[in-house]
């Protein structure tokens, strides 16, 4: 369970951004979370609330966009979704591939702020 330390990094990062913008109030943090990032969405959501306590971000929301896993398919010569996370092959033609092109993201991509 490393979601609490990840949540604390997110809060820290958002606080720095708020300070850079003249101590704006953050209402929501938007996060892109790849299904291969090794971080569990529900655990992260509850950890986020804990991490926000007694910080200027208390009461803010964490909005998570889950990013599906995609691979490069050498048969289709294109980026394709995987069949499933247990089966790394092209969802279209079935060719196996370990070239992951998407799905490892753990990225704060936007903030909702009030000035």
């Amino acid at each position: 369970m490393h979601e609490l330390s990840i949540a604390m990094s997110i809060v820290e990062m958002a606080q720095e951004e708020a300070e850079l913008r003249g101590n704006v109030q953050i209402q929501a943090v938007h996060l892109r979370l790849g299904l291969l990032s090794g971080v569990v969405k529900d655990a992260l959501l509850s950890s986020y609330e804990m991490a926000c306590e007694t910080t200027p971000l208390e009461g803010s929301r964490l909005i998570i966009e889950e990013i599906p896993v995609e691979i490069y398919c050498f048969n289709c010569r294109a980026q394709r979704p995987v069949h499933s996370i247990q089966y790394f092959s092209c969802a279209e033609c079935g060719t196996p591939s370990a070239e992951v092109t998407r799905g490892k993201e753990l990225e704060v991509f936007a903030l909702e702020i009030r000035e």
Binding site: A28, L36, G38, V39, Q86, F88, A98, A110
Partner: protein, 228 residues
């Protein structure tokens, strides 16, 4: 104060700090001609026994060292020290994984340029270590024959973050009706093309194939380092 909230784009990797340190470690290992190998597995898969055997067999031929992570106790470091190699324990407290900064700190005072191999034994955990790059060149995921052939399907993320799968405790395979074919199929499903090595640190079966593989990588590393 404006009444409407507005969106600002940030685009920042949450683990950036870890990744920056890991990249610096990797570059350092590369320029010093050292091969860094990390081990991840569930608790009880045989990481320490396997590593003790590996250190013992490599030490007459190469300067080797190991870092070993655990929540508490120095037991593993003491076991590994029996190989005669320098070993340092990293106790993580409540943290369920190693991070790049811990590796950096643990290497303080060691002349890594003199090493041929550095082994890093992660905390026994098949979930959290997958998110953290430690700067290693090769990540081994260990799985013992007693754990069930469907483990790769249950933990696809860690198998995806690793380079080689090592099946341990092969000496127990018959006793637990281990199905090699099913495990191989499951590993290839979550990580197509993954190299799989089967061995027993206890009997020594398969250890030489593993060591040959490591030494081949180490030779390539040395050649690349001296070519720079």
């Amino acid at each position: 104060m404006s009444p409407e909230p507005r969106m600002v784009e940030v685009r920042k990797n949450v683990l950036k700090q870890n990744d920056v340190i890991a990249r610096a470690l990797r570059e350092r290992f590369r320029s010093e001609g050292l091969l860094a190998v990390s081990l991840v597995s569930s608790p009880g898969s045989g990481k320490t026994t396997f590593l003790e055997k590996t250190l013992t067999l490599l030490r007459p031929h190469y300067p080797v060292a190991a870092l070993v992570g655990d929540l508490a106790t120095e037991n593993d470091a003491q076991r590994l020290a029996r190989s005669g190699a320098p070993v340092k324990q990293i106790t993580t407290g409540t943290l369920c994984h190693l991070e790049a900064s811990m590796i950096q700190k643990a290497l303080d005072g060691w002349d890594v340029g003199k090493l041929g191999f550095l082994f890093i034994e992660n905390v026994g955990n098949l979930v959290c270590p997958s998110s953290y790059d430690l700067g290693e060149d090769l990540r081994l995921v260990l799985l013992s024959v007693t754990e069930g052939e469907d483990k790769p399907l249950k933990y696809p993320t860690i198998f995806n973050s690793a380079d080689v799968a090592v099946i341990t405790k092969m000496d127990l395979a018959a006793a637990v009706d281990f199905n090699e074919r099913v495990l191989e199929r499951n590993i290839q499903a979550v990580r197509p093309g993954m190299r799989v090595l089967k061995l027993s640190a206890k009997t020594g079966e398969g250890m030489h194939e593993f060591l040959d593989y490591l030494q081949k990588l180490q030779r390539l590393r040395r050649q690349a380092a001296s070519a720079v």
